[in-house]
């Protein structure tokens, strides 16, 4: 397993280096004629008003939270799915119960209108 992760590590380095080198290479080839108008922030030609990093809606937070909940559920269900063939029937129903509770949570969010994009 260690060699597998060594390969993934090497692959990570290569995968980062390839685009980085390409970008750097193009940076050498490309012209560098910068001026304030060119580097000004694009806002369809109008003068920029206020900071660009505005406050986002709380809706995004709910989506991230629901996503996090399902992501953690995945952590617990994937080993269960791997062991599926060895599991007796009642153990299968335990996994299903686990998911049904989450489905209940999803329906709660639905009824409360938290999944509505407004």
């Amino acid at each position: 397993m260690l060699t597998a992760w060594l390969y993934v590590g090497i692959f990570l380095v290569v995968a980062v280096l390839l685009p980085a080198v390409a970008i750097a290479l193009a940076g050498i080839l490309a012209p560098k004629k910068s001026n304030p108008i060119k580097t000004s922030v694009y806002e369809c030609g109008i003068e920029v008003v206020g900071p660009a990093r505005v406050q986002i809606k709380a809706q995004y937070y709910i989506y991230a939270m629901v996503f996090l909940v399902f992501d953690v559920e995945m952590v617990l269900l994937f080993p269960w799915a791997v062991a599926f063939k060895q599991l007796p029937l009642f153990a299968v129903f335990e996994g299903i119960l686990f998911l049904l509770i989450l489905l209940g949570g999803l329906f709660y969010a639905w009824r409360k209108g938290a999944l509505e994009w407004f």
Partner: protein, 172 residues
């Protein structure tokens, strides 16, 4: 020093450095990005231990979900994008002293433990481990109650988030 140790040292240094930068970064959002690097370092440490499942879980849950949540939260707060100036409080020397003492205590405690001198045990073929973990989660004589309670906890977290962030005016 073997190549393996060098890799471990590099990862440890990366993790520690980015963890420090989380504290010292002047913008909140930079702290969040440094935190991601620190979490990645922890994942890489798991990789050196050949604990595959923990590596992917660390990346998928912490970097893929929790870090995103944190960044969204930072974006939600007002003026989070501005520099907040020097991050050092006046009494930082005392805090550093406390940290040093706690760290010394930790090192002392760890040296008492025999396991620290033994090389890490090589895990047997990974598939077996995952199956065991999956079995352990649903077998009644093992961890089935915590497993189901975890589901309830997750739902509770979801309901809490919806209640906190929901539009109260709209609901009533």
């Amino acid at each position: 020093m073997s190549a393996f140790q060098i890799v471990f040292l590099l990862i440890a240094l990366l993790t520690l450095f980015s963890a420090l930068m989380v504290v010292f970064a002047r913008k909140t959002i930079h702290s969040a990005f440094w935190l991601i690097l620190a979490l990645f370092g922890v994942a890489a440490t798991f990789a050196t231990l050949a604990a595959s499942f923990f590596v992917v879980i660390q990346v998928a849950v912490y970097i893929g979900a929790i870090a995103i949540l944190i960044i969204f939260t930072v974006m939600l707060t007002r003026r989070s994008m501005e520099e907040s100036g020097d991050q050092l409080l006046p009494g930082w020397g005392w805090a550093a002293l406390v940290v040093l003492i706690v760290f010394g205590g930790l090192v002392f405690m760890l040296l008492q433990w025999q396991g620290i001198f033994q090389p890490p045990q090589v895990l047997t073929a990974g598939g077996e481990n995952l199956e065991n973990l999956g079995m352990a989660l649903v077998m009644p004589d093992r961890y089935v109650i915590p497993f189901e309670v975890a589901s309830v906890l997750l739902v509770a977290a979801m309901i809490g988030a919806i209640y906190v962030a929901g539009d109260h005016k709209k609901r009533s």
